[in-house]
Amino acid sequence: MNNGDGARLASTVVRRIFFYVLVGLGTAFFALPLLWLLSAAFDDTPTYAVGLPQHFSLSSFAEIGRNPYALRSLLNSTLLALGTMAIVVAAAALAAYALSRARVPGRDGLLYALLLLSSVVTGTAAMVPIFLLIFQLGLIDSNVGVVLVLSGGLLPAAIFLLKDFIDTIPPSYEESARVFGASPLQILRHIVVPVARPGLATIAVWTVVQVWGSFLTPFILLRDPDKQPAAVLVRTFYTEGGSPNLKLIAAFSLLYSIPVVLMYLFAWSRYGFRFHGGIKS
């Protein structure tokens, strides 16, 4: 009896240790590549290997100013992200509201089609026709082309998520406003938009994050380094000798990554739970 208990205890301990070792190794696997991002930018002479900076220095960040395109590319990323966000939030909000509240003919079929489209017509699958379309429209090397393509791609998911959110808002607010004689547009502006703000903000942040990191579309549609966003430009950071300019890459990558992390933290802490967990059971 005692023996059995002892064996069980031992096996529990062994299992615990096994899991902690496994989790430790797993975490190390995920952490190892990331450590370079954290450390290399602060090293006076960064190498490929992860390690504490030999000579702590912020001189790598000065490299960013020395590259003729680097700062410009961060601005380009910002413009692409904000432009796409404006279009996606506006168009998705209108569509989602109408789909949630009004009798749009063929609504369920439309939603199902949107759902399919958003997963079937991916960037890689549609690379060829999208390149040709933008080529024919004369929008190669134009930010407008990239914004339009990205908006078209993100809209189905955005409509979906927003409609889901608006479905959770009780229509009674709008009903009472209407009883008091508000026009549909007044209801939208003064009732729906304020109540739906967390949903709209989530879609806005989500769009910015998607565009900020997107590589393939700007990569095939923008050739001029003056127009390229950070995601594309970072691949051109080589020294005259032809090897990667580690100082520039390290500092630039860190600067380029920070907004994404901040936006995720913001979205999760502020809106994450309310967005999907909220009113709807």
């Binding site: 975490t27 569509a95 509240r101 009004a102 749009v104 549909p184 967005f275």
Partner: protein, 332 residues
């Protein structure tokens, strides 16, 4: 209906995308509507409602639906980026499809894609995601938070950045991995093991989604069932098989379908190896890029794109079916 946490996570698609950001992840709460009856409380009226939907539909129509349909036409032409066929492409019938079917490089890309998807998504992300979810379940909060933070960071950072982090990790001269192994001269991992490199890279990149999904699914396993199994003296393997698996089977299926779809369409292997050396890590998306944008053979790559679209359609339909079935089964 999956727990709130899954839905919240699932709504943030893993694959940054041009075209479709996968809304499929949001299916469970959204398709098969019926829960909300449109009542037109704001008095929009049908005309204004259609007007509201129109701008979005026009954008989706021109930049998503039209390209997909146009692929049908492009695939039967000899469209090229330069030369005569750029100005006046001719319809060449099924020539492109015949060529694809007899092109060993194309077959090889399909095979490489299959290995890539199976190794990195179906086995790798699925398995590691579950191990993390299961292993961290009882861990101290700070351990759990720290481990999850690293897994999540790998997932949310921009693809261009993480790709370079892996180039630095795997670099022959002075890369972290070779330093750790004490190899000088080091192994040029991306050159000698290109396919293995992109598989491991993609496991690293995408495990977060599976981890979050499984940890939400596991939190729905009633603790009393686990306790009963423990008191009955069942081994960990037995508990997993008899108590946990029945609860998470449906999540496992939908998760596998989703990550398969995403990984199949993933372009980030290009950022590590550009398909090389000598096509050894050239997945189908990279093959399309190399033949279309680099090689200028739009007609031929259009034909191959159509194949990708059809496979995507198949996967998405199976996914939607599975998601609906699980919805019905769980009464949500």
């Amino acid at each position: 209906m999956p727990p709130a946490e899954t839905r919240q996570q699932a709504a943030i698609p893993a694959q940054p995308a041009v075209a479709g950001a996968p809304a499929v992840a949001a299916v469970p709460q959204s398709v098969g509507v019926g829960t909300s009856t449109p009542t037109d409380v704001a008095g929009l009226g049908r005309l204004r409602a259609v007007g509201f939907v129109a701008p979005a539909l026009v954008l989706i129509g021109v930049f998503l639906v039209f390209p997909a349909l146009w692929t049908l036409y492009i695939g039967v032409t000899n469209y090229r980026l330069t030369g005569v066929a750029a100005r006046t492409p001719d319809v060449v019938g099924l020539d492109n499809y015949r060529r694809a079917l007899s092109d060993p490089t194309f077959y090889r890309s399909l095979w490489i894609t299959l290995l890539f998807v199976f190794g990195s998504a179906v086995i790798g992300q699925n398995g590691l995601g579950f191990v993390f979810a299961w292993g961290l379940r009882g861990a101290r909060p700070w351990v759990r938070r720290l481990a999850e933070a690293f897994v999540l960071l790998a997932w949310i950072l921009p693809a261009s950045v993480v790709a370079f982090l892996w180039v630095a990790l795997l670099e022959r001269d002075g890369g972290t991995l070779n330093e750790l192994l004490g190899r000088t001269p080091g192994v040029p991992w991306l050159v000698e093991y290109p396919l293995l490199s992109i598989v491991v890279f993609n496991i690293w990149r995408g495990t977060a989604f599976s981890m979050m999904l499984y940890s939400a699914a596991l939190s729905a396993v009633p603790p009393s069932h686990l306790e009963t199994a423990r008191l009955a003296g069942s081994s960990a393997a037995q508990t997993l098989r008899d108590v946990v698996l029945p609860h998470i089977r449906r999540y496992a299926l939908t998760n596998t379908l989703l990550i398969t779809l995403w990984t199949f369409n993933d372009f980030s292997p290009y950022l590590l190896t550009a398909g090389g050396p000598n096509h050894r890590s050239e997945t189908t998306p990279v093959y399309i890029y190399n033949t279309a944008i680099v090689g200028g053979q739009m007609g031929y790559s259009g034909a191959i794109s159509l194949l990708v679209l059809l496979i995507n359609l198949l996967l998405a339909l199976v996914y939607l079916r599975a998601a609906r079935t699980s919805r019905r089964l769980s009464g949500g």
